[in-house]
Symmetry: C2
Subunit: 137 residues, 2 copies
Amino acid sequence: MAKDKYHDIVKSALESDGWEITDDPLKIETGDRTIQIDLGAERVIGAEKGGEKIAVEIKSFLGLSPLTDFYNALGQFNFYQLALEKVEPNRALFLAVPHIAYYSFFKETLTKEAVKRFNVRIIVYHIQKAIIIKWEK
Amino acid sequence: MAKDKYHDIVKSALESDGWEITDDPLKIETGDRTIQIDLGAERVIGAEKGGEKIAVEIKSFLGLSPLTDFYNALGQFNFYQLALEKVEPNRALFLAVPHIAYYSFFKETLTKEAVKRFNVRIIVYHIQKAIIIKWEK
């Protein structure tokens, strides 16, 4: 499945960047629900490097509409952010997006404003090279 | 399609409540993009009653996972909210959810916290009766 291919690309890119993948998926147990692999949603993974811990929401932006893909990415990011603040406030959440989406849809005015308002941290990954090309914190 | 059935139920319920459906879909033109019927996303409609204007994001919560449906609903709500503030700041945005989802998934702790943090206004509709049973502003 194409989604899984992108998932593996990001994991490999993070490892090349010196990160250890510690959780796949990253489970967050809080309140009434264990948040992990939700049907239809893409998996969030956990990684660590020199004591720094991050959570990465991997998105492929392979859908028919980048806007619909973004609704899903943003909603998941906002929800996970809330959950992480409760259980692991020191683990920063990132949204991993492929370079093609980053240099098109993410350059639009409203997208940039949404990213800013909701404090979406971004990791840009290159699909063919399987490397991280940009971190936006 | 089931999604369209729910769409019609909400329109009918709003009309029974004295609202006039003015836009279906509600188009928002801002910046680089006209936001309207996005592939895969459910339509947002516009309604008016005694000079008050609202936008309603209709969700069926028919998916396999309420959490995945909620990611999409929340992301779309947050994005539309941002766009509406720019072009029609007096039009309040509501998320319409069926009573079954409201009295189960929306009663969970994290869901309630997300609704509160992102100022999600909710309209609860009864599927069989096709009426609005609750407004949460």
